[in-house]
């Protein structure tokens, strides 16, 4: 896995707002076909890094390469073709409130591809079913959906164009533990079926343990560590020790131990 070139490669990224510097020379790679869990304290800049990669936040310094292309060097048309190859699940879902669930999923397909209405509808329905939503959800508006359903519809929309990379911003936040576990499972299944690379910002230690191949840790504007969960648990870094060494962290540690020494 680590031998193939990274699909996302961020080097020395500096991002700031006014006086404050949020990211200070952050460097991170995402490899093809992996689920990268991205953790860090609240306000550490995890979402900012994600938004900088997808181009919602301007950078001050550094390079961001996606599929080997420097995003800053692309013209509009090239950039759009890259954007077609990634999907984003925003923290609150960010569904279009005036469109139904089905229309939300149809929207990117309709915008980017010139297909017959029948095929667009079939594909959108297929995506909704793949994220585990029943048929009666399709005609509902986001305001009529529960939090978990909104996340699933948003995931279906993020997957609408069969992207190669999916960005997930705290996918399990706001879900109950059962719903969160199901969602983790769903991400894992879809990642395998569709061959996705996943960049997942999360706080959920269970998600980190259940689905992430690698974990990257952001602290004080830098990526201080990246590697599989075992390496994180073994790390001596004080922030990592307090993050994984807390009460919730120890439970995950127990699970890892149990897997290593059954």
């Amino acid at each position: 896995m680590a031998n193939s070139p990274p699909v996302i490669s961020v080097r020395d990224l500096v991002v700031g707002f006014g006086e404050a510097t949020v990211l200070d020379h952050a460097t991170i790679d995402v490899f093809e076909g992996e689920i990268l869990g991205f953790v860090g304290g609240s306000g550490a800049g995890k979402s900012v890094l994600m938004r900088a990669i997808i181009g919602l936040v301007p950078k001050r310094h550094g390079t961001i390469e996606v599929f080997g292309n420097d995003l800053a060097a692309l013209n509009d048309r090239q950039r759009r073709s890259i954007e077609q190859r990634w999907g984003v699940l925003f923290q609150q879902g960010a569904l279009f409130s005036s469109l139904t669930a089905l229309q939300n999923v149809q929207f990117p397909i309709h915008e980017y591809l010139d297909l017959s209405p029948r095929l667009i509808k079939e594909i959108a329905l297929a995506k909704l079913e793949m994220v585990g939503l029943s048929a009666d959800v399709r005609g509902k508006y986001p305001a009529e959906l529960s939090g978990g359903m909104i996340k699933r519809v948003a995931l279906a929309r993020a997957l609408a164009l069969d992207p190669d990379i999916v960005f997930l911003d705290e996918p399990t936040s706001g879900l109950d533990p059962i719903g969160a576990a199901e969602f983790d499972e769903l991400i894992r299944t879809l990642q395998r079926t569709l061959g996705l690379s996943v960049f997942m910002v999360t706080h959920d230690l269970d998600s980190l343990h259940a689905v992430c191949d690698r974990i990257a840790v952001l602290s004080e504007g830098r990526v201080i560590a990246a590697g599989p969960i075992e390496a994180m648990l073994a790390s001596e870094h004080p922030w990592l020790r307090s993050y994984f060494g807390g009460k919730r962290g120890r439970q995950v540690q127990g699970k890892v131990q149990a897997q290593l020494h059954p």
Binding site: S97, L119, K121, A126, P142, A143, D162, T193, L194
Partner: protein
Amino acid sequence: MSSVLLTATAEGERLALAATGAWTAERAAELERIIDEAARRHKDALSVDIDLAKLERLDTFGAWLVERLKRAFIVRGSNARIIGLSDADRGLMDELQLVNRAPVQDRSTTNRILLALDSLGRGVAQIGWAFVLIAQLLGALTAAALGTIAHPRTLRLTSIVHHLERVGWRAVPIILLSTFMIGAILAQQGIFHFRTFGADVFVVDMVSILVLREVGVLIVCVMVAGRSGSAYTAEIGSMKMREEIDAVRTMGLDPIQVLVLPRIIALVIAVPLLTFIGSMAALYGAGLVCWLYGGMAPDIFLERLREAISLQTFAVGMIKAPFMALTIGLVACVEGFEVEGSAASLGLKTTASVVKSIFLVIALDGLFAMFFAGIGM
């Protein structure tokens, strides 16, 4: 681009379809035509093998089209299967075998005339309902106001002052400018037409009575409805969307008292003041035009003004102002509370708020005209 994506070899009732190239989203439109064509042309095939062994790439779009092709044969009773599936694509194909099984129900086709009548009826009912809601809010507002009189400490003075600054003080420049221009335009038109029969001096009568009785307060109300009424609706509406109003309620507070009362009190104070300022600006504009365009010296204008109007003329305009302010505030808040979950509904209700309040202000002005005529004012 024109590479072959599907080749068919038919042997009697057996059909072998071989998919080649990339079956992906970019070519999905082309693929859809190809599979529909293949399904149509070989409709007599009894046994169909769809061979995917030579595929270069397959994504959800391509996989769904393969599945759709397979189903097209199965529906006709043929025996169709997919062969040569690579391990990487197997998961995807398995997943897509399960989707779109539920029959898609057709939209019920109803009579167009019935639909038109239905929407007309709903529209009329909605107009009636709008008045009910306004009456309801007026009642709730009165109750809140009485509660505040009983317990003066619950009056939100800070909030009132805040809204007063927004709807009153900050509206002054635009109100001054627009009423000044209205006064100037009325005077110019009056002079232009009255001059032909030598009645220049009556322009002052016309402008002053018109401005003080009707136009001043109407222009101010239209500006306030567009400026502040829409803001009230949008604020309350987005607070409702984000459950802030529920939060207020669960804290044991009355949203009417916390959100509506200060806003409406601010409007009821601000609109008469703005009407006064606006009327003065309009008269100033009229005087300026009379002087520069009509050649009427300012002291003659003032002299004529004194004869043309009385305190009553002024009072008629001012009496109407607080009632119109109340109407604008009520409509704006009612529409705000009517906002539902979507961004579109917020836009719709904000538009409705402005349109309805301007209409009601004009209707109210008509009622006042009849009332004042009745009591001889």
